[in-house]
């Protein structure tokens, strides 16, 4: 069996809402597959169907070679789930939590003890082994939450937003941990995220999901090439004395595709053509703008999403940008929410 997951027109409807819409994907064994999409795209719903927690309205899927509808018991023997909400009991210690789930997976006593110790050590949590989960920080909880899913050494590991709401340090550590278990245990991993960087960093294949539909499916590299082909450059630039006038002038440059004001002094500019950088610098300097910081950005998956769906992924950015909606510029209406 080569594929960890194959789906066939997998669909879930909640009354009139089609949360997952005829999804056909296949995930190779041993890889890390990223499911990328904004909030409400249907990532969690898709994962829950694959984990046998939710019955599909239409279609089916095979996970680890077993049908999620007809062989749900078999599927459960081969998967692990790190769900969006942590699966742990606050009044139990880490060891007690792991013990409960180890017992549910019929692990023999000594295997359970060995693995518990090994996994706790792996995430540097040995010292906290006998403390109740309720006393942990979110980052610590998530470490236990993840090793809990690894206790049974699953063939396929599902991770729904594994770094959501974590501090930067925990985020980095957990990302490294995910890579490590993928390599060491040859575990196939399917993770969902609404963070482009995460998908970019971790995944060898990415499916972009929007409103329940898979709109793109490829390696992060190939996906980025979709827009990279147009010779587009992205620049992250900081101008301490940024004015609205400067902003308007930048937007009026024919080489500049879009300008996003990240905050008071920060701009994200996308531009086309050979003279793009010159134009940007000249426009700012000629208006006495000081350039404190410039960084050329590779096209990110964020740009890919925007390119494909015509919409910004992060809702909070578009609302910030809205206040700058000034002059009537060209571009598709869907873009104007962000770009103006």
């Amino acid at each position: 069996m080569e594929e960890a997951i194959v789906t066939q027109n997998l669909t879930k409807k909640f009354k009139d809402l089609v949360a997952v819409d005829h999804v056909n994907i296949d995930v190779k064994r041993g890889g890390i597959f990223g499911l990328l999409g904004p909030n409400g795209a249907g990532k969690t719903t898709l994962i829950r169907m694959l984990c046998t927690l939710l019955a599909p309205t239409e279609g089916t899927a095979k996970v680890a070679g077993y049908d999620i509808i007809k062989q749900d018991g078999k599927v459960r023997e081969h998967i692990g789930l790190v769900s969006e909400k942590m699966i742990m009991y606050d009044r139990l210690t880490a060891v007690e939590n792991l013990k409960l789930f180890g017992k549910l997976y019929n692990l023999p006593k000594d295997t359970l003890e060995k693995r518990t110790y090994k996994l706790l050590k792996l995430v540097h949590m040995e010292k906290w082994a006998k403390s109740q989960i309720g006393t942990y920080s979110t980052g610590m909880k998530q470490r236990i939450n993840i090793i809990r899913a690894l206790l049974s050494v699953p063939d396929v590991l599902f991770m729904d937003e594994p770094t959501l709401g974590l501090d930067p340090q925990s985020t980095t550590e957990i990302r490294e941990f995910i890579k490590r278990i993928n390599i060491e245990n040859e575990t196939s991993i399917i993770l969902t995220t609404h963070m482009m960087v995460e998908a970019d960093m971790l995944c060898d294949r990415v499916g972009i999901i929007d409103r329940g539909k898979i709109v793109a499916l490829d390696t992060p590299r190939s996906l980025k090439r979709i827009i990279g082909g147009e010779d587009v450059a992205s620049v992250d630039i900081e101008i301490p004395n940024l004015t609205n006038e400067m902003l308007e002038a930048l937007r009026d440059q024919p080489t500049i595709v879009s300008v996003v004001r990240e905050n008071e002094t920060h701009l994200l500019i996308r531009a086309k053509g050979e003279d793009a950088f010159d134009d940007i610098i000249d426009t700012i300097r000629s208006r006495n703008g000081r350039i404190a910081f410039v960084k050329s950005l590779e096209p990110s998956l964020e740009d890919v999403f925007l390119h494909i769906t015509g919409r910004e992924m992060r809702a909070e950015v578009s609302s910030k940008v809205k206040s700058f909606q000034g002059g009537g510029r060209h571009g598709p209406p869907a873009l104007s929410r962000r770009v103006r």
């Binding site: 769900s83 909400k85 409960l100 017992k103 549910l104």
Partner: protein
Amino acid sequence: MGAGDTLRHSLWIAWKDLLDLWRNRMAMVMLILMPLFMMVMVGYIFPTESALENADVGLANEDDGPLGIAFAQNLTYVSEESGLMSLKDSSGFDDIKQRIRDGELAGGVIIPSNFSSNLESGTQAVVEIVSDQSNPQISLLLQGILTEVIEQMGTWRAIANVSVQLGVNSSEALAIVKPYTVETRGIVPGNPSYFDFVAPGIMAMTVMMSVMTGLPHAISYEKEFGTLDGMMVAPIGRLSIILGKTIAQTSRGLIQGLIVLGLAVAIFGVTIQGNLFLLLFLLILGVFSFVGLGILITSVARDEQTATMAMMTLMFPMMFLSGVFFPIQQMPVFMQYIAWSLPLTYATSALRKVMILGADVQSISTELIILITFGIVLLAVAVPIFKKAMKK
């Protein structure tokens, strides 16, 4: 998945729930307080004769004759001796009426002006009792006591008359005046009290209420919190989850039931005639008989709040209809039909037989069969619905 696995998994789930409960200080306090409140409430709010201790009763003697005065003195003597009433002098009906309205008196007794003359002329004399219709419970008790006292006095008078007129001694006179009397004899030693009657029902109710409210809470809460997914995604039978939760909740309920039992025995003097293990078994069977209902409600309710509300709504009428507080035979006929369709009714009835009458398994076999049937039918309906609902 064998039965052994199912049971083992469910025991681990129960272990988790009980450990969680044990470490939840607030929940532990409530666990102990609930049956305590329950017992104290039932033990003290129900009107008993002692509730009438020293009730103020107005006495108006409108009769100037010697017999009226003698009657009034007798009545005063009896009430002082028994401590049931405290008689207050009054001028007549209007005065008593006013003072009942003012809340000074619980009732009144009037000796009419023709009392002596009637008695002397050989006519039956009348004593009037004034009752307070706004307080039927007290008024009923008062009437009962007054009637008894007055009748007793009438009997004494009759005995005196008979023994004088026929020249016999007083016990012979009694046999003439009151040829019949009633003596009550129970089938177990001791005098039955209301508490003996309610204690088994309260116990059954406490255990079942605990499980029935605890179960939807335990499952819906974990579902909302997301931790239920951990069990649902594990390769265990769905029945293990239901069973595990039920075992934990039943243990919790039994602890409360035993607190009720302990209080009933220690404070309210209830005696247990039957086998204690049979008693425990009956409680567990009672839980089994409608655990399916709890599962059913959990399955159809959207969230924890809805589940708990639905359960409460069902529990309330059950509490009053299943003969916990008053005998079913006292209810209107159509209500009796409802009562006989509730499992709690059978659990209460069987518990009562075991606890008060010392019944054995054979004498409660009907109840046992009905409870088991209830349990199987409800579970057979609930489990598939639960499985389906969890995947919605």
